[in-house]
């Protein structure tokens, strides 16, 4: 909503929000206070939780009814699920995972997204199709500021659902517990191991090291592929993006896809036996050496420092 407001102002246009749900009318005014001029409210019991088909039906119906110039989604799993289906039905462009939007001098939206593991930024323009659609990456844009008492309009919209829209059901939700320090994207210290660790049991060293520093253990894709660490600890393009105060890369060579998941860390420390490993290009600190000697020596010295 924050970025939508900014773009709408720059385009001299209104900002509308779509609110599909069930018994959610109260949220319409909240959206207005956050900067939306109009809310299209669609209420139906089928919309009580996110499901691809009925939510797509809402978007497709409203896009055809009101012909907006721009449609933005959040780049969450459900945002991609929804946008992916809608853009195919409408046959218009959709730029995934944008980190910046600019309005061109022709009045089009320049949708900027990371490419090739974050080492390039691609500018995507959808000049001849409407709406121009993009999804906005989480935690990149400024959040909208709530202005209590801000006024806007709420429109109750009718959308017809048929039997096939009602076919899919949410049966169960299992919230992740986040135990065992699995939430590596929230840790201030991350100790990540790569293929250089050579086996699952060697990750115990990293557990001990991370424990002494109050950190979490993570892994590269190769280490996860090898079955040494669970997928939820994977850092990189196909895993998680982390931005800790300190990121230790142990036995990780530094493929672009890995760097994409940790290059925004405040400080990066690399330990690798190969002095030419790409990870050293990005490191604030590093040791060129055998990790099986270096890591135990670090643990020993940290322990000595604690007593």
């Amino acid at each position: 909503m924050g970025e939508g407001r900014r773009i709408a102002d720059e385009m001299n246009s209104e900002l509308a929000g779509v609110l599909p749900g069930w018994k959610v009318e109260g949220l319409a005014n909240e959206a207005i206070e956050y900067g939306v001029d109009k809310v299209y409210l669609v209420e139906d019991p089928i919309l009580v939780s996110y499901l691809s088909r009925p939510f797509s039906k809402v978007m497709v119906t409203l896009i055809r009814r009101y012909k907006p110039s721009v449609v933005l989604y959040g780049a969450s799993k459900n945002g991609r699920d929804l946008g992916g289906r809608v853009h195919a039905i409408i046959e218009t462009g959709l730029a995934a995972d944008c980190v910046k939007f600019e309005v061109t001098k022709e009045g089009n939206l320049d949708m900027i997204r990371p490419a090739y593991g974050g080492r390039s930024l691609a500018h995507i323009v959808c000049a001849n199709h409407r709406p121009q659609m993009g999804s906005a990456r989480a935690n990149v844009f400024k959040k909208a500021v709530r202005v209590p008492g801000r006024r806007g309009e709420v429109y109750k919209e009718m959308v017809q659902f048929n039997e096939s829209d009602k076919d899919t059901k949410l049966v169960e939700f299992i919230e992740s517990s986040g135990k065992d320090g699995a939430k590596i994207d929230e840790a201030s210290v991350v100790v990540a191991g790569g293929f250089g660790l050579k086996s699952q049991s060697n990750f115990r060293m990293l557990d001990e090291m991370a424990g002494l520093m109050g950190g979490s253990v993570a892994a590269s894709r190769k280490a996860v592929d090898a079955g040494w660490m669970p997928k939820e600890r994977q850092v990189g393009q196909t895993g998680k993006t982390v931005r800790p105060d300190v990121y230790w890369a142990v036995g990780i060579s530094g493929a672009v896809q890995h760097l994409a998941g940790m290059q925004e860390s405040l400080k990066i420390v690399a330990i690798n036996s190969d002095p030419n490993a790409a990870i050293f290009e990005l490191a604030d600190y590093g040791i060129v050496g055998d990790l099986f000697q270096v890591v135990p020596a670090i643990i020993e010295q940290l322990k000595r420092g604690r007593t």
Partner: protein
């Protein structure tokens, strides 16, 4: 499925800051390998036939053959110069047309996204074109009585969705361990004639719907991201010396944890 440059081999040239692309080997898009493995496991349980489909140049046949070796029964390559430069819209249109021509199906499995474009939009796009239900980001799929139960990995946990066949499922990367092609699978491939090649015209696609012409989006330019220079205090030599050197440097610079 799609063939992509091997992710782990991609490295940035430290001088030009651009990707080193020459001689980078390719592989089946890793989440697609998880989708193939899931298909093989479902076939082992329920029977049926596995058909693999890809769109791209003829070199993609090597990936189709790998999928056949893993347990797929037939393979289709949709290959046409007119398809070059397609964004996710014509890609979805073309793959849907090919699926239509292949014939009746119960379940379409795709990887959650490709490692070279990472949009995750093509799977849901195909489901939209074919007007069938979709369950994305699945780590596990069960089929009972023409009903699919898909366990989706979402940001804050897992959701279980249920829908009817036919449907489309996208498979989360890393949700299983893809098997290597078996010896009998390789022999099956060697005997040949399992891969059918189609042009755009073969699946009834008009040229104006394809490629750059049929793509709503264009990449107007690409900027190289130059990462900020870092300290680069790299210590070399005997760990008895380098470890104390590193830890005192970290302490001096007030880096957390030590």
């Amino acid at each position: 499925m799609k063939q992509v440059p091997k992710a782990q081999e991609l490295q940035v040239d430290p001088v030009t800051q651009t990707l080193k692309r020459v001689g980078v080997p390719s592989e089946i898009n890793p989440p697609d390998s998880n989708a193939i493995e899931m298909a093989v496991q479902l076939k082992e349980k329920h029977g049926g036939e596995i058909v693999v489909l890809t769109m791209g140049p003829r070199v993609f046949i090597q990936s189709l053959e790998r999928a056949l070796g893993m347990g797929a029964d037939r393979a289709f390559l949709l290959s046409d110069r007119a398809l070059g430069g397609s964004d996710t819209v014509p890609t979805g249109v073309a793959l849907s047309a090919a699926i239509h021509k292949i014939g009746d199906f119960d379940l379409i499995l795709c990887g959650e996204e490709t490692t070279d474009s990472s949009t995750g939009h093509v799977g849901p796009g195909i489901a939209g074109h074919l007007d069938i239900p979709q369950i994305t980001y699945c780590v596990d799929v069960k089929i009972n009585d023409r009903k699919v139960l898909g366990r989706r990995a979402v940001e804050d946990g897992f959701e279980v969705w249920e829908c009817s066949l036919p449907c489309l499922v996208t498979v989360n990367f890393g949700s299983n361990k893809p098997r290597d092609p078996s010896l009998s699978g390789k022999i099956k491939v060697k005997r040949g004639k399992l891969v059918t090649q189609w042009s755009a015209a073969d699946v009834g696609l008009p040229p104006e719907k394809l490629g750059l012409k049929g793509s709503p989006t264009v990449v107007s330019k690409v900027d190289t991201v130059v990462l900020p220079a870092r300290g680069g205090k790299i210590f070399r030599g005997d760990p008895k010396l380098t470890v104390p050197q590193l830890l005192s440097a970290l302490k001096r610079d007030k880096v957390g944890g030590v």
